[in-house]
């Protein structure tokens, strides 16, 4: 993927660029808001990562102008710790996701992949291995056997399947499944995933849901 990083803090920018490059993406970097907008407007990038605070042109204005010029490329905002209104403001300005600094690199990578996937056409039936999730009829089957899921488990499985083969972090699941934008001290994601596993994997030989230590979960079919 072609990724543009607009971040004025050299350390953070280097960290992001190195991590993305290590995954095989090609990364362009700029520390200046106005220059960043000019680059983003070329339309060459699959994902744009924008810091809120930038010299010459702040992140919010940058994204508003980018959207004003008709560019629909996914935008990930980086915001500072504790900015209560940052998420809402960022989404209102036309951002697609936000990440609070400081963040774990795995979290950033997972979100960048999730954003890139958002562009693909919406599917009505998700399939991974023998697992099939019908989003219209709200049914789940594995190897032809019907699996009875609670509404929240269905949503959780949908999120994992949409990003199949990729890491979905705990924070992402909290946001997508429960709309929780804070960090609960209780391991609610773990307990729900464990219940989902009991239904999806327990009676089958091969596990589809994998725990990625220190990051989150990944649903993938065996290679």
């Amino acid at each position: 993927m072609q990724i543009l990083v607009i971040e004025d803090d050299a350390d953070t920018a280097a960290l992001i660029a190195d991590a993305l490059a290590a995954e095989g993406h090609s990364v362009a970097r700029t520390a200046d808001g106005a220059a960043g907008l000019a680059q983003a407007e070329t339309g060459r990038f699959d994902v744009v990562i924008v810091d809120r605070m930038l010299p010459r042109l702040d992140g919010l204005s940058l994204v508003k102008r980018l959207r004003g010029s008709g560019r629909a490329c996914p935008v990930l905002f980086l915001t500072n710790l504790g900015g209560l209104d940052d998420r809402v403001e960022g989404l209102n300005a036309g951002g697609d996701d936000y990440l609070v600094k400081p963040f774990a690199v795995t979290e950033l990578l997972a979100r960048v992949h999730a954003l890139a996937r958002r562009l693909s056409a919406p599917e009505t039936v998700l399939r991974v291995g023998g697992l099939e999730l019908d989003l219209i009829r709200r049914t789940a089957t594995r190897d032809g056997r019907a699996i009875d899921l609670q509404p929240r488990e269905f949503k959780l499985l949908e999120c994992l399947m949409r990003h199949a083969g990729r890491v979905v972090t705990r924070t992402m699941l909290l946001e997508m499944v429960w709309d929780f934008h804070f960090d609960p001290k209780t391991n609610i994601v773990e307990t729900h995933v464990s219940r989902l596993r009991a239904k999806i994997d327990r009676e089958f030989e091969i596990d589809l849901i994998h725990t990625v230590r220190g990051a989150g979960y990944s649903l993938r079919a065996p290679r």
Binding site: L81, G82, G83, L84, D85, V88, V100, P102, A104, R152, W178, D179, F180, H181, F182, D183, P184, K185, T186, N187, I188, T191, H192, S194, R195, G214
Partner: protein
């Protein structure tokens, strides 16, 4: 500090203004009385002269020249009383009376007059021609009128002077008294600015307006001191609560330096977790501060409270179950309020987490939401150990943790955030005894219910 001057005080300026106005009134009154009195007295003198002239003319008409000179002669004694003087003239020569000077034309006139003692005074004359070369002149000394006029003038000048002098003296006295009271307040304020927050304005105990003002200011100072103390306490707690995990983190990292793989990787992983905890504490503090600033209220929207309660129950039930507890809810559907869904969710989640974390296995945790005529009420109750009555108010303070909860990990900020969100939404929190256990009731503000709060988009 500029020394306060008596003449620059408000009291003195107001008094001076008042005295100036009052003195001007005295002067105006004096001028009016002076003018009216002098006019009246002059008229009275003229009336006397006129009636004397009439009686002389009557005497002439009835007794001729002899009658006239006789009448003038009779009236010679009157002169001793300093009242009127007369002259009867025949062809310009005085043939009777004592007037030493008289006007030539007939009618009223005023002329200088040589007094018997050699001074030059003034006389008011009335001269009438009787025919046959005879004239009669009546002259009056207006000195009495002048004396009365002077007396009035003197009286009012003295009064004017007294008003000004007493007014200024009163102004100075009043200013000194008020200045002393104001100075007392000012000195207290200066002492507080200099850092002595314990200083209070002395009261006189008379209950006057200054005392009441001072009392209010003293109460304000008490409140400020309370807030400062709690701020100090919070700062100290923050420093303490962050110092401990940072010290532990440092130890761990130092140990990791000399460790070999894979122990080193495990240590680093644990260190990262500790850093995240510290960041979480900072994040919570910042969040509470931002919620308390109240700017978030602008973003209030229609929130389905019933749905939110159900989501939280659903999210936490498996975790409670795994910890050997039960989480059940009784939620009346369709209850909505105007609020911030994100913050309300976190508020309820914190209350539920608190109930899960601070109770033992086998605890029943209940969640409820209902609406009736008295309003919308929610609760989170558990059958755990509860909170001693004396501690119930303090559990919402930042970093406050019950003495026996030290073993349970946590930042001590969860309930502070609950309080901040509740305050933002006007929700009253009641901490009650669930017998056994803790019951936290949320009383939503009146008028927050469905219908009344549904915002139209764009509003």
């Amino acid at each position: 500090m500029r020394r306060a001057s008596v003449f620059r005080t408000t009291a003195f300026r107001l008094t001076a203004l008042y005295v100036a106005g009052f003195a001007a009134s005295v002067a105006a009154l004096g001028i009016v009385i002076y003018l009216v009195t002098s006019a009246t007295l002059s008229r009275q003198l003229d009336t006397r002269i006129g009636s004397e002239m009439q009686s002389l003319q009557t005497a002439y008409r009835s007794g001729g020249k002899a009658g006239l000179t006789n009448a003038v002669g009779v009236d010679e004694h009157a002169h001793a009383n300093g009242a009127l003087d007369f002259a009867v003239l025949e062809n310009g020569k005085r043939i009777a009376g004592y007037l030493r000077r008289w006007p030539d034309p007939a009618g009223w006139s005023v002329l200088p007059y040589p007094e018997p003692d050699g001074d030059v005074g003034v006389r008011r004359f009335l001269r009438a021609e009787l025919g046959n070369g005879l004239s009669v002149v009546v002259g009056a000394d207006p000195e009495q009128v002048e004396e009365v006029k002077e007396a009035i003038l003197d009286g009012f000048l003295s009064a004017f002077g007294a008003v000004v002098v007493l007014g200024i003296a009163g102004g100075i006295a009043l200013s000194l008294v008020l200045l002393r009271r104001v100075e007392a307040i000012r000195r207290t304020a200066e002492a507080i600015i200099a850092g002595d927050l314990t200083r209070r304005i002395p009261l006189r105990g008379t209950g006057d307006d200054f005392d009441r003002l001072s009392e209010t200011l003293n109460r304000m100072l008490d409140r400020i001191r309370e807030l400062m103390d709690s701020l100090r306490e919070v700062s100290a707690n923050i420093a303490h609560d962050l110092k401990t995990p940072l010290a532990r983190l440092r130890q761990r990292l130092e140990a990791a330096q000399s460790e070999a793989e894979p122990a080193r990787a495990a240590s680093l992983h644990a260190a990262l977790g500790q850093v995240d905890d510290i960041l979480g504490t900072f994040s919570a503090l910042l969040r509470i501060a931002q919620i308390e600033a109240g700017t978030r209220r602008a973003g209030f929207a229609d929130v389905d409270l019933s749905d939110m309660f159900a989501t939280v129950t659903d999210a936490f039930a498996p975790a409670a179950e795994d910890a050997g507890k039960t989480l059940t809810a009784q939620i009346e559907p369709g209850i909505r309020i105007a609020g911030d869904r994100e913050l309300l969710t976190q508020m309820l989640a914190n209350l539920v987490e608190n109930a899960i974390r601070h109770t033992g296995p086998g605890t029943a945790i209940g969640l409820g939401l209902c609406a009736d005529k008295s309003g919308i009420a929610g609760f989170v109750a558990d059958s755990g150990p509860g909170v001693p009555a004396a501690e119930r108010e303090r559990i919402f303070h930042r970093f406050h943790r019950l003495a026996d909860s030290a073993a349970v990990p946590g930042s001590g900020l969860g309930l502070s955030l609950v309080k901040a969100v509740a305050d933002l939404h006007g929700i009253a929190i009641l901490v009650a005894d669930a017998q056994p256990g803790l019951r936290i009731e949320l009383q939503f503000p009146a008028g927050a219910g469905a219908g009344a709060t549904v915002k139209k988009p764009g509003n």
